[in-house]
Symmetry: C2
Subunit: 648 residues, 2 copies
């Protein structure tokens, strides 16, 4: 608390909201309006029996499809909006509401629809997309199996071509290969995109995707078995289930054949010769799924921050400055420390997500197939998804605790927020696996097949060719070249003489850590291998270091996006507020990892302590703006509990 609060500008909430909404403000407002109209689902989610809740969510999905909200990423000729960026913005905004609806929309339009759109050809588009966009054809995305989650290349389901009948025969060879956790599979999907190992005339061609009808008139088709996954930790409005295929026959035309074909005579052909490369090219076209989950996690965290900050601005506890009146929670230094760095992080991630979504739109809207741009996009999507969804888990938890017992009542929204977002760190790629993907991209300079995370292949590739290159590229003298020009003090003193609130200093610190960590990983792997360690063992032992390098890289990208956006703003209170948030975000990140910076000679003890003081000071300065900063998220009142969490 401050007896006399610092004078601080209020923020122009309307202007800040416009900035946050960006290019797709209109799309976001459509979703806000749809969510407001159907806000009752938030209470239904808590009270309806599971079967009814699922039907309620299905009904909403269809209703929202009819407003055009969910089809924005599909071509206009099929009733879509023809704008991938709009589609991502709509999905992100949907995360302000019930998250079962969000995930069901993601399954139907993002995964099922996305696979048909990206892996299929005109034949499939003509056959399915119009019904799909309208919500008449419901489907599921049958990739994950009980025994094979992260390692998609090892899937067990088979698709064998029968040249006699011109059909593929889809089979589940064992229990580990049953499809599992598949959204829409237990009840609503009429068709599945099934990922299976293609066998043509006894020759294996790796994993391909097939359209398999599974239900007609609500009944399973012959040879298809489905089972409900049962109650889940959250997202119980989505009917996840398991699928088994007992030699199910589908026409040859049901192979999604954008990247590979099988002729009637049983000749396999693909423009991409290498099987691994083909597989990862296919998967790469589905990257927007990760982009969407990333944005959804970041926006779910905004809901939690809004609830907690509004509560802390009206809840009083303990007398402190005055004997007569208890103090507002948000006037306590500790409470500021708990919430405001997370608020700053949510802004940083918001702009990183905006940059990611824009890049996704651009890559998929251009016809030039720049391989490296795609790989970098995949890496950025993987990293932002990991950081964004962990941010959600951590933020929602801290916000719940900051609301005490009131935050434990279902009406506070924390029950659903916690439970429903929990799996975001796992699905669309386990976060730890994703960060290893990012590291692989860095270690190989995006050469090789990006998604190939088979440890054995990856390690041998990295060990064989890439380590020397990385070590050379990240040599210390190159590292400082850019930095010494930008900051006072040059090579030796930039990290001592620059101002803490100088964004060039902040970025230089994160860049230094990124390059140094990466270089360290490369050296460590090389040393282990040179000493005769099995490369896989060397890799396993350095795995925490590998993940740290990836995280350092992504944190730098996030800060860069935030700093760029802040710098681009015209002078005014919005820029002042963003600058405070950027400083808080950057300095809190450096503070959190100050052990590393000190270990590596880039932070002296007095300066480390000064950073801690500055973080506290920034919390105090942001405190009067906090209410405005969450108001600018634009979460409709209908979706929020009363600020004091008392009225139901």
């Amino acid at each position: 608390m401050a007896s006399a609060p610092d004078p601080a500008p209020r923020v122009d909430v309307v202007a800040l909201r416009q900035l946050l909404d960006g290019r797709y403000a209109e799309v976001r407002d459509l979703v806000r309006s749809n969510l407001t109209e159907h806000a009752g689902v938030l209470a239904d989610a808590e009270t309806l029996p599971r079967a009814e809740y699922r039907e309620r969510v299905l009904g909403l999905l269809v209703a929202m499809a009819q407003t055009g909200q969910t089809g924005m990423g599909f071509p206009e000729e099929y009733g879509g909006g023809g704008d991938l960026g709009a589609s991502i913005a709509a999905f992100e905004t949907l995360a302000y509401g019930d998250l079962s609806l969000l995930v069901k929309v993601g399954v139907q339009f993002g995964l099922f629809g996305g696979a048909l759109l990206m892996l299929g050809t005109k034949r499939h588009h003509d056959a399915y997309l119009e019904d799909l966009v309208a919500g008449r054809l419901l489907g599921c995305f049958a990739m994950t199996e009980t025994g094979h989650g992260s390692n998609v290349q090892a899937l067990g389901t088979t698709a064998s071509y029968d040249v006699e009948t011109g059909e593929f025969v889809i089979s589940t060879p064992d229990e580990a290969s049953r499809k599992d956790y598949i959204g829409n599979a237990a009840l609503h999907a009429q068709a599945a995109v099934v990922f299976a190992q293609l066998d043509v005339g006894g020759e294996q061609h790796g994993v391909h995707a097939f359209v398999v009808p599974i239900r007609a008139h609500g009944e399973l088709l012959p040879g298809v078995r489905a089972e409900d996954d049962g109650l889940k930790l959250g997202l119980n409005g989505v009917d996840n289930g398991r699928l088994w295929f007992d030699d199910v026959r589908i026409p040859r035309a049901n192979l999604l054949d954008r990247f590979a074909e099988v002729s009637p005579e049983g000749r396999y052909g693909s423009a991409i010769d290498n099987a691994d490369r083909r597989f990862f090219t296919m998967l790469g076209t589905l990257v927007q799924g990760r982009v969407c989950v990333s944005g959804a996690g970041i926006n779910a965290a905004k809901v939690a921050l809004t609830v907690a900050i509004r509560y802390a601005e009206c809840r009083r506890q303990f007398t402190a400055t005055s004997p007569d009146r208890e103090e507002l929670l948000l006037d306590y230094g500790l409470h500021q420390r708990r919430l405001l760095p997370l608020l700053a992080e949510s802004y940083a991630l918001h702009f990183a997500q905006e940059a990611l979504a824009a890049r996704t739109h651009d890559v998929f809207s251009s016809s030039t197939g720049d391989e490296k741009a795609r790989r970098e996009l995949e890496s950025r999507a993987a990293g932002t998804k990991a950081l964004g969804t962990w941010h959600a888990t951590r933020t929602i938890q801290e916000c719940r605790e900051a609301c005490g017992g009131a935050g434990y009542l279902a009406g506070s929204r924390f029950a659903a927020l916690k439970a429903d977002t929990d799996v975001f760190t796992t699905f669309e790629g386990d976060n730890h696996v994703l960060l290893q993907l990012v590291a692989k991209g860095l270690l190989t300079d995006y050469a090789g097949d990006f998604e190939d995370l088979d440890q054995l292949g990856m390690v041998r590739f990295v060990a064989g060719q890439a380590l020397e290159v990385v070590i050379e590229r990240t040599a210390a003298h190159k590292l400082f070249e850019a930095i010494k020009d930008a900051l006072p003090g040059g090579d030796d003193a930039w990290d001592r003489e620059a101002g803490l609130r100088d964004p060039d200093y902040q970025l230089a610190m994160l860049r230094f850590r990124e390059e140094h960590t990466l270089s360290g990983v490369a050296r460590r792997l090389k040393r282990g291998i040179d000493e005769g360690l099995d490369p896989a063992v060397a890799f396993s032992r350095a795995q925490d270091h590998v993940v740290a390098a990836a995280r350092a890289h992504v944190e730098r990208l996030v800060l860069e996006a935030f700093a760029t956006k802040t710098a681009d703003q015209p002078e005014g209170d919005v820029k002042v507020a963003l600058t405070l948030l950027r400083d808080l975000h950057a300095l809190a990140a450096i503070e959190r990892d100050r052990g590393w910076f000190m270990e590596h000679g880039r932070l002296a003890a007095p300066r480390a302590k000064a950073i801690t003081r500055e973080v506290n000071e920034l919390c105090r300065r942001i405190r009067p703006l906090a209410g405005d900063l969450v108001a600018a998220y634009g979460i409709p009142d209908a979706l929020l509990p009363a600020p004091d969490l008392q009225q139901p």
Copy 2:
């Protein structure tokens, strides 16, 4: 993974389990057997409608009461076991099962029964305890109000003595003063222990406790209004609710009068003159509630660790060392890093909890009212509860993520574990408030009234008398006296020359941090006040530092308990395993806070890096023991999912 795993002793699981179960092995086995008999409640919790689930939990409470399990802390003359330590052990073990049952037992026997036992006198014991112990008299503990949670002294409910009728009149003056979040209040409680501001003849005597009958034959009594708190994030087998009292009259005898009486003529009398001191003495007798929640949190985390480690020992993903077979999750260095330091922490906290429970038993079993011992116990209980319950939240989350999608299915137990334990960090004292209590004890050397956390009073007390004393007591030269004798290198070099795995080094590091942080807080507060800052503002600005000092203190106590227990073991494989765990726990703690140690000149960069390497090495050495180490928790198979989480 290791191509050739280090040879490592297996652990004698039976011997280790005996050590963990300790003095109360028999009690713990009784609870295990009761939990096994009623293991079906874990599935019921997921599937029954809320109303039926509540009745199911009530039925189990009564059934368990009849085995003697829940009454061990009550005098034998009322059907109890006369052993507080046994009662804590029973409660802790109950946390392996359904946590609504745990909390309902805690409400009925710990809070309601504990208040009657500790705040009442023979009259109340004779009237209530036998029925209560048998589960025939159900009650609730009506302390918290909607507007007053952590700040109990500010409660709004009033109890006015009416000298005409010899009755107290209990009233709820406003909505902020309604009792809220009260377990058992919505449905099952026949009586409440109500905390209210006592007014006798217009004179205010502060908060006292009263027995108020609220229901007869399932119907609310006149003047009492109750409302269900509705669906909660978790613990939905407990009927939490709100209570309003509209001038409810109760006999004079219903004041729980161990510490204060009101005579028929309306004379107030207490052996404790000071009102604050009286209040905190009353509250202090209820400390076992915190001790119980602490133990329950630690044991709930053991369930999560058992599930995650069993899963990681059978789940394979990605080929790594062999092209033919995928690798076990627990053979990955990163997976070890995620789970094994938490496993080590669970062992450390287990022994800290054992020491806390033993001390609780001793303090309450001795008739000597050693004030300082009680204050230190309260501080230790507050601190262990905070660390133990945060450990639970963090561990359960990491374990869920480490089980991927399989951990998201309700059958994995994570759904209930996450939701039900979430409020442990809030109830029985908000963790952040508790750590400030701990800090206050340290800053005042346990002088003053311990629980008085009213910021205004506390700050003025601390500022007025205690800071100089703390600064003197923690002067650097005193700090090193003990350390320099114990370790090679003396004052200057102990932190460079001692072995990393030397427990004296590990403890010296944590002691140094504790004393230095505390001294720093005292100096910072004093400097602020000397510079003319309002003490409350100085305190608010240093609040993160205050909490850090408390945490450093509790972490030292935890390590000390673990190190002592380890040192006491006879040579053998159990001692070898505990030593590895102690080293991992201690070094991971130092690594986590290495920024602080480096800032304060007690850790040089090369040694910090050596600690990180040692943590990795210890993870590798503990990996082959991990299965045995969780088996020794002795969680009945009936309470655990299949190791691979696949069979329902």
